[in-house]
């Protein structure tokens, strides 16, 4: 049954439904409803919540819980996610499945608390030190928040890798009807006894570790990680194609901005301009192939990347287009949100 859910609370309940029983967080706007909700909800289902002393502690608690084999999550917003980066690198290197939510606000620095997409580089390129990538989901509606959060734990378990869900202050705070999937039976969750360090007594210690001091061992591990990323790219790349079959102008946008683009496309088409949209649902792995394919279409005149940032994802669009067509950028930052009319005007007047 559909109910009216606030974005942040929908993520929280979807995580519970997915079998997440542990959450570690630290207050920061605009994601506070996630820890607030889980602080009372998790004990109801036999789980636990810790309000950590910092984001640094929270991400390391996630390392502990995930390493002990539990489904666990943390959430924060941009400056707090910066603090978690060291821990995310360790989690990726120790191959621990878990979910991290970033409800992005505007930056850099303390920035502002209004919606933004300025953490694209941080989320998709690794963010912390060393060679790694989390899988990054970018929902654009509350129902998609729910569905991707619900599925994120399975994807994390399948590849033993951290999954990041990025939204923005607008999506986290707004309300929409959404249906939460049924509660997972915990008995059906993947068995992690083989590697999880939950206190064994079978004479075979399980070690959760990211230290590989021998160069050859570390290089072999990095190659193993990147083989895994190849597999993830092959199996998990997701995007939405909206009216590109006859499009001359292709917008590329994710999250809430993609919805603004759709409204602009409807208006542009009413005025006789054929526009379409590629909406990446996974930002890592990136839907490079479909963009490259469209770049080769004669019909397509140009790409317009739209972001609430000074231009970050546009670099991946340029890599995919590979010089075949112009790639333009339209962005707002500081917490400002573009209107569909702004995009219509940009396409028609070039500004």
């Amino acid at each position: 049954m559909k109910k009216l859910w606030k974005g942040n609370e929908a993520i929280a309940e979807a995580a519970v439904a997915a079998g997440c029983r542990y959450f570690f967080g630290y207050p920061i706007t605009p994601q506070n409803e996630i820890p607030e909700y889980l602080s009372w909800r998790l004990p109801e289902v036999g789980g636990a919540f810790i309000q950590a002393e910092s984001e640094v502690s929270a991400i390391n608690m996630l390392y502990g819980a995930a390493g002990a084999g539990a489904r666990a999550m943390t959430s924060s917003s941009s400056p707090g996610i910066s603090l978690k980066q060291e821990g995310i690198s360790y989690i990726a290197a120790a191959e621990l499945p878990c979910v991290i939510v970033n409800m992005m606000r505007s930056g850099p620095g303390l920035g502002g608390i209004q919606p933004a997409q300025g953490d694209y580089f941080q989320a998709t390129k690794g963010g912390g030190h060393g060679d790694y990538h989390p899988i990054v989901f970018a929902p654009s509606s509350i129902q998609e928040f729910v569905d991707l959060t619900y599925g994120a734990f399975d994807v994390a378990d399948k590849y033993r890798t951290p999954v990041m869900i990025i939204g923005d202050g607008m999506l986290g705070q707004m309300m929409e009807p959404a249906e939460i999937p049924p509660m997972r039976d915990l008995k059906t969750l993947p068995d992690k006894n083989d590697w999880a360090a939950c206190g064994h007594s079978d004479g075979r210690p399980r070690i959760i570790n990211s230290l590989r001091i021998e160069p050859d061992e570390l290089e072999a591990f990095n190659e193993h990680l990147f083989k895994k990323y190849e597999e993830i790219t092959k199996n998990e790349t997701r995007y939405e194609d909206y009216l590109t079959s006859d499009a001359e102008i292709v917008f590329v946008a994710y999250g809430s901005v993609a919805r603004i683009c759709k409204a602009a496309i409807v208006e542009l088409r009413a005025q006789g301009i054929k526009a379409g949209l590629i909406r990446p649902i996974t930002l890592y792995p990136y839907p490079t192939e479909i963009i490259a394919k469209l770049a080769k279409c004669d019909k397509v005149k140009k790409f317009v990347t739209v972001e609430m940032s000074m231009g970050q994802m546009v670099e991946d669009v340029r890599l995919a287009v590979n010089g075949l067509k112009p790639v333009e950028f339209y962005g707002r930052s500081g917490g400002n949100v573009m209107m569909p009319g702004d995009l219509v005007k940009y396409v028609k007047e070039g500004k």
Binding site: V56, M61, Y63, A68, A197, C198, G199, S210
Partner: protein, 250 residues
């Protein structure tokens, strides 16, 4: 031939990498012996730090987490929520790890009263990185980042962890011990064993500080470093029990 002393089964066959004369090996053994005597090796979970004991996961024969620098108490706090309450959980940390970069994690795990045991090795120096000043380097003590000796006016003052943590409500048992001679090794073992017992009785956090040595970075022979710990270390960091709720209960 009769075997009268053997390596604890909880320690693996991997040769310790510690420098000659370092007391890490002794404390590893004490932890292992205490757990064996209490019958708590099965299901035990260790959390080791960044620093000289970073390879702890190679030495303790139990499930072990290698934590990021200073974060072992946060990692252990989460593990405590997930695993069976009877699984014994301990962290093993040095002074840079616990009292500098991990101060927030240490204080907050202590004040929450997590039912875990923290083993704190205080040798007043960053050993693995080559002898830099630690949060517990004593006034006048030389380090590679205070080559004329720690001057509190320039370098700030060292921290007394047991005294500070004893002001908190959460910890159940806090004791400072040392290993500079056999009687003190025996006392240290009794303290570690008591700390684990406190955890087994679910009384809350237990914290054992070991005033330890670092002959390599003190530029001393093992014997000189033991003498230094006895005379200087243990007078600046007095040994004793700083908190014991098992006594207060009575």
């Amino acid at each position: 031939m009769k075997i009268v002393a053997d390596k604890p089964k909880m320690l693996t066959e991997t040769p310790l990498h510690y420098c000659p004369g370092c007391t890490h090996g002794i404390v590893h053994r004490l932890v292992a012996e205490a757990l064996e005597e209490l019958g708590k090796v099965d299901g035990a979970i260790g959390v080791v730090p960044v620093g000289c004991s970073v390879f702890g996961y190679k030495y303790f024969r139990c499930d072990v987490f290698e934590a990021a620098h200073g974060r072992a108490p946060a990692v252990a706090s989460a593990i405590r929520r997930v695993v069976n309450p009877d699984n014994l959980i301990f962290t093993y940390q040095g002074d840079g790890d616990l009292a500098s970069i991990g101060m927030a994690e240490t204080v907050h795990a202590c004040t929450r009263g997590e039912n875990i045991t923290i083993i704190f090795i205080n040798n007043g120096i960053y050993g693995m990185t080559g002898g830099q000043m630690a949060p517990t380097t004593m006034p006048g003590e030389k380090a590679t980042t205070c080559i004329y000796g720690r001057d509190p006016k320039v370098n700030g003052n060292p921290i007394h962890m047991c005294e500070m943590l004893a002001t908190l409500t959460g910890p159940a048992y806090i004791e400072r011990v040392s290993c500079y001679d056999v009687p003190h090794v025996n006392k240290a073992k009794a303290a570690i064993k008591k700390a684990f017992q406190v955890q087994m009785e679910k009384k809350g956090l237990s914290f054992i500080e070991v005033v330890a040595n670092c002959p390599t970075n003190y530029h001393q022979t093992p014997l000189e470093s033991m003498q230094f710990v006895k005379e200087k270390g243990c007078s600046f960091y007095p040994l004793g029990v700083f908190k014991d709720i098992t006594k207060e209960d009575k």
